[in-house]
């Protein structure tokens, strides 16, 4: 399923809303999650999962071809941990 198909499903369940409004709603929800992660906040959606940001320290990596040490900047990576209910649903349904 891609975003447009998700929007389609939400629109079908809400015939009183304009399609473009449904589009906006879906985008607002996901943008809000990204905005929170940019602030390094957590987003915890019970039963679904939690989005967090993990810190990766600066380190020296290696160019695998030459073996030369190259500095790798510190970075922050988004991380999703599946919620218990969703995890269970994936396995017994």
């Amino acid at each position: 399923m891609i975003k447009s198909e998700l929007i389609q499903k939400i629109a079908a369940a809400n015939p009183h809303l304009y399609h473009r409004d449904v589009e906006r709603i879906v985008n607002v929800v996901f943008d809000e999650i990204v905005d929170a992660l940019v602030r390094r906040d957590r987003v915890e959606l019970r039963g679904f999962g939690a989005f967090t940001v993990k810190h990766r320290a600066a380190r020296f990596g290696r160019n695998p071809r030459t073996g030369a040490a190259v500095p790798v900047d510190e970075k922050f990576v988004p991380f999703f941990k599946t919620g218990k209910e969703l995890r269970d649903r994936l396995n017994n349904s």
Partner: protein
């Protein structure tokens, strides 16, 4: 770093604020979005949301695990796990600004013998 935790209520609030829908309807819509994604994933189909990321299902075969408390070997049954791959847009936005160069921090890091505990507070089970 960023102590706040957002919940469904905050996402619904954003819909109220930015789209102008009533609160209860916004809450229902947030719930519906999450439930449609969950239903699709439970059916074994992946969900790709452009500029956000994609949720995929990975089939794990049986393997031998160990009970960390008793040290006993126990078989881990085959299962399906969910993996989230953030989009490049998300990764770039999260890293925009506030970056320190490796050359600086790696130097101070190699000089250190004791680094302050950098552990994030244990994330609660959801």
């Amino acid at each position: 770093m960023g102590g706040k935790t957002l919940t469904r209520a905050d996402l619904a609030e954003a819909v109220v604020r930015k789209v102008g829908l009533p609160r209860n309807e916004s809450q229902d819509l947030v719930e519906l979005i999450l439930s449609e994604i969950s239903i699709t994933l439970a059916a074994g189909e992946s969900v790709k949301l452009s500029s956000f990321g994609s949720f995929g299902i990975r089939e794990k075969g049986e393997r031998v695990g160990r009970n960390p408390k008793t040290g006993k070997e126990v078989p881990i049954t085959p299962r399906r796990v969910l993996v989230f791959r953030p989009s490049n847009v998300m990764k770039e936005r999260i890293n925009a600004g506030g970056k320190r160069k490796a050359a600086q921090t790696a130097e101070t890091a190699s000089a250190k013998t004791s680094r302050p505990a950098r552990k994030a507070p244990a994330t609660r089970q959801v």
